[in-house]
């Protein structure tokens, strides 16, 4: 799956093709990945998938939430340890993340544009 504008520095928010999630607004994505909600606006429950710690994950959070890695970790530690939110499930690799997103109902994750395959659909490009 690639669009004419896709390039390696682009990060795509993706879900399973033909899954329950076909649309996602940027506001929804931001609130989900900041732990401020766990469902879409229409009530569809969402399971978030994180990439392992590294440059793609750092770039994703910077593009979506404007937070650098230190800010993101401090923010999420407050969300988790005050009991407000459960962090995204962390995949051990981008390949595994792709598998989980493709096979878990309601899963949303992000991948480098060149890692997205035909089992997945792009919901939102970030660059």
């Amino acid at each position: 799956m690639s669009s004419p504008s896709a390039n390696a520095s682009e990060v795509l928010i993706v879900s399973a093709r033909n899954g329950p999630i076909a649309k996602l607004t940027r506001d929804e994505a931001e609130q989900l990945f900041l732990g401020r909600r766990t469902t879409l606006s229409d009530g569809t429950p969402v399971a978030l998938i994180d990439l392992p710690a590294g440059p793609v994950r750092d770039r994703f959070y910077l593009l979506l939430t404007g937070k650098n890695p230190i800010q993101t970790r401090a923010y999420w530690s407050r969300q988790v340890f005050t009991g407000r939110a459960q962090p995204p499930r962390e995949a051990p690799s981008a390949e595994q993340a792709g598998n989980w997103i493709a096979t878990t109902p309601g899963a949303i994750g992000y991948l480098p544009a060149d890692h997205a395959d035909s089992r997945l659909q792009a919901l939102l490009p970030l660059r």
């Binding site: 506001d27 609130q31 401020r36 909600r37 766990t38 469902t39 879409l40 606006s41 009530g43 429950p45 399971a47 710690a53 939430t65 404007g66 937070k67 650098n68 890695p69 230190i70 800010q71 970790r73 401090a74 923010y75 530690s77 407050r78 988790v80 340890f81 005050t82 009991g83 407000r84 459960q86 962090p87 499930r89 962390e90 989980w100 878990t104 109902p105 309601g106 899963a107």
Partner: protein, 396 residues
């Protein structure tokens, strides 16, 4: 995943499993946080104390005020219903580290924007109250005591609602809460809040957070330290009734903000507590400016607490005045301070912090300091105190 983490000589071992949040069986996720922290005061006859939190011991340097370990389990039953249990070990006013439940609640999402939680929650009186032990989340070794010393309570046994909505590009959270709270006080004393209720409003944009909150509660307060016991033996009964009992009423209010653009960090807060009796009424503020250079952020914090009304204004016979004034000073945390510090994010999951504080207590206050020896001989009033703090915060 099994992971062993050594932090400053304390081995933190935990097992962590994560499974799909949408699977049929409940999924369990374990995580944790901790701080190994020490403080050293430049005057050998007094020690730093976080009133209601730690034990007035005699160690120097003292690992009691800041060292903490928390282990948390999140259990997801359904996409809408989950449970959180957090066990916390830190020095108690009795001087032990017995773990206790700091969170134990069930959370249910009534609607995408509305969550109800019931059980043991954290008291959210001030902007950072519900993350007071999660030092990794904060720039400082500990949130400034001039503000956060105004509320020693940590648990909220009760119920709350989290309503979150989007207004333009800002998230608004409305957080009403209801319940009760209890803390032991050195040595056999206690403090209790009953029929406690309040509401917080938090407005958050990408870089800016604005917080206002207000809570009120019935208060029961029983002191039991040597200073208090001596006093109750000599002052008239009507004065004693002002000092401790079960007919108090307290209010806690706060307004704060945070600006964090990735380079500059600005944090400020003003908080006030009003007591009808047993404890004093006071207000405090702090203001912090920090600047990030890659993984290191130096910062400076100014803070002040001022007493608005002492515990009692009753007059006693002249020979007893020094005793009463001494007692009132021991319960008056008024002080002002300047702190220079730095946070160094040494790894993804660890931050090392160093702080140097210069604090001035008043001629009618002990501030956040306590005599190491005999309170009748040592007097923390009207002192200029330097303190060094070093802490390593981890999450796992």
């Amino acid at each position: 995943m099994i992971k062993a983490l050594r932090a400053g000589g304390i081995a933190l071992v935990m097992a962590c499993t994560a499974t799909s949040t949408l699977a049929d069986a409940p999924s369990i996720h374990l995580s944790g946080f901790g701080t190994l922290g020490m403080v050293a005061v430049n005057q050998s006859d007094i020690r730093f104390i976080r009133v209601g939190l730690d034990h007035p011991g005699a160690e120097s340097p003292d690992f009691g005020p800041d060292t903490v370990l928390g282990i948390q389990g999140n259990v997801v039953f359904t996409p809408r219903t989950s449970m959180v249990v957090q066990l916390l070990s830190r020095e108690s006013p009795q001087g032990d580290y017995t773990p206790r439940a700091s969170l134990a609640f069930v959370s249910h999402s009534l609607a995408p924007e509305l969550t109800v939680r019931a059980g043991r929650l954290r008291i959210p009186f001030f902007m950072l109250s519900d993350s007071l032990d999660i030092n990794y989340a904060n720039p400082w070794i500990r949130p400034p005591v001039e503000v956060y010393g105004l509320n020693p309570f940590s648990d909220l046994d009760g119920i709350d609602l989290l309503f979150r909505t989007r207004i333009a590009n800002a998230d608004l959270e409305i957080h009403p809460y209801l319940g009760r709270s209890y803390i032991p006080i050195h040595r056999d004393g206690k403090a209790r809040l009953d029929r406690l209720m309040g509401v917080n409003l938090t407005l958050t944009t990408e870089r800016f957070t604005l917080f206002v909150g207000h809570g009120e509660s019935d208060l029961t307060l029983k002191w039991s330290d040597a200073n208090f016991s001596l006093l109750t033996a000599i002052v008239p009964t009507e004065v004693n009734r002002e000092l401790s009992g079960n007919d108090g009423y307290a209010t806690f209010s706060s307004a704060g903000f945070q600006w964090d653009d990735g380079r500059w960090l600005l944090v400020g807060e003003y908080a006030r507590r009003v007591n009808r009796r047993y404890a004093n009424s006071a207000h405090g503020w702090h203001f912090t400016v920090g600047h990030r250079f890659e993984n290191v952020m130096p910062y400076v914090t100014l803070a002040r607490q001022t007493e608005d009304r002492p515990i009692t204004t009753a007059s006693v016979p002249a020979p007893l005045e020094p005793y009463l004034n001494g007692f009132l000073a021991s319960r008056n945390m008024a002080q002002h301070s300047i702190t220079l510090g730095a946070r160094w994010d040494v790894r993804r999951d660890a931050a090392l912090k160093v702080e140097l504080s210069h604090t001035q207590t008043r001629n009618d206050s002990w501030g956040s300091y306590f005599p190491r020896g005999n309170p009748a001989i040592t007097d923390p009033r009207d002192r200029a105190i330097n303190m060094l703090g070093v802490a390593l915060d981890v999450t796992f």
